[in-house]
């Protein structure tokens, strides 16, 4: 045991030297999480707010001005251009200068004040469906609210001093993510992604590289045992992975205001368990790859579907049944629920238990199978 521990520690020390001396690995370790955070944080997950809006108000009445004010007040739109007619709005949309346009015809105010229907033409740039959907929803909500207000005013005016209120008043309250901010969805997911991608790649590379340079064979002739080799190889990456989780969560809180609502210890503990599956997959890939190139192909073969199916970017609820159930086979699916639960809802061990036990189960199974396969190969 004493000698075994010494041999394992020797591998850990050597692996550590590789990490700090290889600029590529260092880049993968430090740059990747930060880069992904920045990319997803600033580029991908831009929430729909202050969409540039062109306005052509030919009516110039109280009613039209009220409607436009409501649009500005909603926060979704920012009036950036005042147009004279419909054509000008279309030109602005064509040029991509505005994302939406609103045309209020001359008869709008008159129709409303005479109890008729005021028609408004609304244009949305549909090239980005996500943005367009939100823009459409916002436009509908704003015009409905304004319509209701006008309707109530009319009724109050006609009925003798009655106070009218709408029969159904639905209050919607978003729990956990009150502002519906996409970063709240993305950052916890990022923790899972980094643990999966980085750990898997680093582990696979660390073993395949030995094969490529012929040192693997040299290790086999030494008294080193396979469990000492595996533990020695993965321990440094466990440390690296935990450091990265801390970095991601910290940056998420500092830069994007996504604070951890639940227990940090629980998050760290479950991250460790999830790591087993990534480490296992890394070992598995190294077992079936001869070169680092093959390892990269194998890794993307595993990682791409796992991100799509696990619900990192696209919520799983909207998936076809087959894809939905396939997601249940991936440890990362459960881990995503767990991280989101802990960070956003402050959920604890008991609430998350339905997600925890399958994750633990799958992670341990993946790890043990991979290590057994690896041992069989070198034995």
């Amino acid at each position: 045991m004493g000698q075994g521990f010494r041999r394992m520690a020797t591998i850990v020390h050597k692996e550590w030297l590789h990490i700090i001396r290889d600029p590529r690995t260092l880049a993968l370790v430090i740059v990747m999480p930060v880069m992904m955070l920045m990319l997803l944080g600033y580029a991908v997950a831009n929430d729909v707010e202050d969409l540039p809006l062109a306005v052509a108000d030919l009516s110039r009445t109280d009613a039209s001005r009220t409607l436009l004010e409501k649009f500005s007040a909603s926060g979704f739109y920012l009036v950036t251009h005042v147009a004279q007619n419909e054509d000008e709005i279309l030109q602005l949309l064509d040029a991509g200068i505005v994302k939406a346009g609103i045309y209020i015809p001359e008869d709008f105010g008159r129709n409303i004040s005479t109890g008729g229907v005021g028609t408004v033409q609304f244009y949305i740039d549909g090239s980005n469906p996500t943005v367009a959907q939100t823009a459409q929803l916002a436009a509908e909500t704003v015009s409905q609210a304004t319509s209701q207000q006008i309707l109530i005013q009319r009724l109050e005016r006609s009925g003798a001093g009655l106070t009218i209120s709408l029969p159904i008043d639905t209050h919607i309250l978003y729990l956990y993510n009150p502002d519906m901010r996409r970063m709240n969805f993305i950052i916890p997911g990022l923790v899972a992604v980094i643990l999966q991608v980085q750990t898997l790649l680093l582990t696979a590379f660390a073993i395949v590289r030995e094969r490529e340079q012929g040192t693997f064979e040299q290790l086999i002739v030494t008294p080193l045992r396979s469990w000492e080799l595996i533990l020695g190889k993965i321990l440094p990456f466990v440390l690296v992975a935990l450091l990265n989780v801390a970095m991601t969560v910290g940056a998420g809180a500092l830069l994007f205001g996504v604070k951890v609502a639940g227990s940090i210890a629980l998050l760290a503990g479950l991250s460790l368990v999830f790591l087993l599956s990534s480490l296992g997959l890394g070992v598995l890939i190294s077992t079936i790859s001869r070169t680092q190139m093959q390892a990269i192909y194998m890794a993307s073969f595993i990682m791409l579907p796992s991100f799509l199916l696990a619900g990192f970017l696209i919520p799983r609820d909207n998936m076809p049944l087959l894809a939905y159930y396939a997601g249940y086979l991936l440890p990362v699916t459960y881990f995503l629920e767990i991280v989101r639960g802990i960070i956003l809802k402050g959920a604890g061990l008991i609430t998350l238990w339905p997600w925890i036990w399958p994750m633990v189960f799958f992670s341990v199974v993946v790890f043990i199978l991979s290590v057994l396969l690896f041992r069989k190969q070198i034995g």
Binding site: Q3, R6, R7, A9, T10, K14, L17, H18, R21, D22, Q213, G214, T215, E217, Q218, L219, I220, V221, T222, P223, L224
Partner: protein, 317 residues
Amino acid sequence: MSKENAVEAVQLTRLFGDFTAVDQVSFEIPRGEIFGLLGPNGAGKTTTIRMLCGILKPTSGEARVMGFDVARHAEDVKQRIGYMSQKFALYNDLTVYENLDFYANLYGVKRETFKPRLTELIDMAGLQGHERQLTADLSGAWRQRLALACAIVHEPPMLFLDEPTAGVDPISRREFWEMIYTLAGQGVSVLATTHYMDEAEFCNVIGMMYNARLIALNDPDSLKEAMEGVLLEVDCDQPGNAESVLQALPEVTDVAAHGVSLHVLVDAETAEPAIRQALVQNGINPRRIERVLPSLEDVFVSLVNKENRLRLRAEIE
């Protein structure tokens, strides 16, 4: 098992699918001897060495190294052997000292002897003053000596060297073999593969491998004496034409180019006049014909040709 043998291979065989890489190879290496495994690339030398080191499992047959069965007592074998592969398996991003330190720790070199042992090895490899240099920056010959130092860090009584001099200049090759001699003098047994015939002269015993089989096994002098027939060195103009002319003669068993001259294998020295006559008839001037002692290369070529003739005959029948 005799106590005097460091290695005993009995009918060692290894298949890769349908391909036979090593075919029933048997030999012994007495302790303290240098055994050279010769043969062209693909003859099965590396596969043999890998089986003896426990990297590959034999398909059939067995091997004992330092008295331990390779298949059943791999751990006992590992502690007693040093192995140096063709690739000089070193970590390029570690320094000279770190590479040695790494293997010394894996082999469990005792703390008390750790520092002096590493200093001793650095002196032996002539790497003093380069301890902190990255291995990537070392020349081929230095990498080779460092690889040897790493392989013997735990003072193994048995050393396996797989083409240890590949890609190293002739002077460094000679220096390397001197180190091997020194080790053998200290009682270390050595098995080295090579395809440099001149290196084979350094070995006490030679095994020649061809097409997965061991086709000869003896000490260098006996191999040369055992070569059938007489070897004549023919120095002439137009050696290219001469080769085909001589090949057609019934007295000639074999002709091989040897530098600018030809080595002609004949049954007896009496064939000389016939050779001279044939050359003159074809307008070739035989400047010099004399009997020479065969080199190991001649022995190998003659054995390979004999092997091929036997095989051809077997196929025809």
